[in-house]
Symmetry: C2
Subunit: 342 residues, 2 copies
Amino acid sequence: MPSPTIYDVARTAGVGIGTVSRVLNNSTSVSPETQEKVLSAIRVLGFRRSKVARQLSTGIQHRNVGALMPNFTHPSFVERLRGVQLALQDHHNDFNLILYTVSEPDRCHEQLLAIVEQAAVDGLLIATLNVSGEQRDLLNEASIPFVTLSDVCTGELNCISPDNMQGGYIATQHLLELEHRHIAYVGDEFPNMYGFPTSELRYKGYVSAMTDYGVIHPPEYVCLGTHGEKAAYSLMEQLLALPEPPTAVFAMSDIQAVGCILAIREAGLRVPEDISVIGFDDVQLSRYVGLTTVRQHLEQSGYLAMQLLLDMLTTPDGVIARQLPRLELVVRGTTQRYKSLV
Amino acid sequence: MPSPTIYDVARTAGVGIGTVSRVLNNSTSVSPETQEKVLSAIRVLGFRRSKVARQLSTGIQHRNVGALMPNFTHPSFVERLRGVQLALQDHHNDFNLILYTVSEPDRCHEQLLAIVEQAAVDGLLIATLNVSGEQRDLLNEASIPFVTLSDVCTGELNCISPDNMQGGYIATQHLLELEHRHIAYVGDEFPNMYGFPTSELRYKGYVSAMTDYGVIHPPEYVCLGTHGEKAAYSLMEQLLALPEPPTAVFAMSDIQAVGCILAIREAGLRVPEDISVIGFDDVQLSRYVGLTTVRQHLEQSGYLAMQLLLDMLTTPDGVIARQLPRLELVVRGTTQRYKSLV
DNA sequence: TGCACTGATGGAAGCGCTTCCACGTTAGGT
DNA sequence: ACCTAACGTGGAAGCGCTTCCATCAGTGCA
């Protein structure tokens, strides 16, 4: 059964629709008795006014932007989301933020279709999902501006991401400068489950730094697995079992770095005295753990991405300036100078 | 200038509005030339079809629920939000989630007004904000069902929260069972900046356990300050400076527990060998830190709250069953049995 | 008694779209 | 030559509201 309209209410209350509307809007000049009649009719029918009709009629439209994010178990999305919020606030909250979560990578396309279908959104921020050409077309056809926010740059203008290679270089360089010469890389498989070559790019930075310093790394020093603390733990165990274990580890994310640290401690060794560990991201956790890492200003990235999107929405034809987040080495307590025979 | 409508497009293209609509909907039976005319008119005018009019006309309405949250710097909101998402997914994503952030507690009322005004939302989840009677009336008047999700129970039916007193009791009891007799409490001032008596309730649980075990605590053992790691650090310093420092500390949140631990270590003492510390919440961080704490199943709370809200929205008159999250002691590495003279 | 004014009320118009029906127009069949 | 079907097209109706204008009854005043 369709939900009742003000016409139903008017009929039940024995008044005109104008009067009903007036009651609904707390307008003056409705007699108390009439008001009571209307109110009780509303109650009886369980009437709720349609927000859509109201918006159309008043012409007041609030605009929505969507953020499509993985079902964020990973802290980095949280931090980006915070930046997104901040950008929205700085824009006077003119836009509502609709949060879409993708539980599994496969369902991403389905979600996107639903979003376009619904047309609930004026613009879309897509975080850490590989946007296929087909999907781009879909969004363009629906003329929904979008910005991608991820670990990896597609080279497009509407993409906010750090320079992963540079980041990998910075991390590895730090270890090399500390005179480590046995440096392992712990990262995701190439590409990861979302189809991103993040790990590969950071690895390339690692290779590039190693090459620049003239250090050769055996293939066993490159350990790839699924993302997460657990997998990193196992990989680190493998590394420790090597005839010549590394003296330093570059983990492609802070979470994985923590996994490595736990494995090292479990083996009765100390960080950084025996093995140095550097991560990547600088999530909030890292501050507490005291992890040395490469900060990619996640919050700032979120901020920049949303700012870009809002610029696109509010100045449709204008030239939009894109800023990219900076990378920065943050030295804390999990790395130290290599000491031989100590 | 108002944005162009399909009438404008039709006029510019020299066709009828029906044809424009057909082009817009990729309907068949439009000749290629006509289609091209319409498309170019759309391009020229920068036309974008109104989603509101479309919704009204098609009758397809997607529904929105809002979540009003503090500008979540605190990890506990993130975890709750995850549960909220899960509940939404289990509901086939029939509802979109609009995220509202309150930057400062003072602006909460303003936000709420805007939300009601906008009428963008069918239901509202209010997290960790004290909902005044006035605000309840506002929401009721707008007939927006809402659920509050916070640390503290108001006794209302639409409130999901843990039993803080019980939690305080559990934490303290754990320390007492470990034969500690000098137990301090570190918490927020009563009430905290959001007007919540969370700290007071947990403190009451502490007092109750102490009384049950016949242990008397000096007033200096009760340390209250603003929320956060920093403040807890200072409070712990004060405790350590006491003639008879406590042998165990119950911090009302994990973050504050971490602050205490840092202060203890800074003073050259060890946790748990010299002083045991127990927290409250079991945020993700605590797993990494190895903190003993009282788990309040934050994610589950979020889940339950959203589930309750969705039940209210989908079965308006039905009897709704409310579940409350359970509390659970999680023993990790920051507490141990009291050893005198060791 | 008549007039102007006020307050309460009914309902048409209009918001921008979709959809359906009606109206050519053309091609194919007899 | 006529009829039918199919195709392309225009535009009215209607979605559920708000708002404005018209109406009507009542009131005060000359």
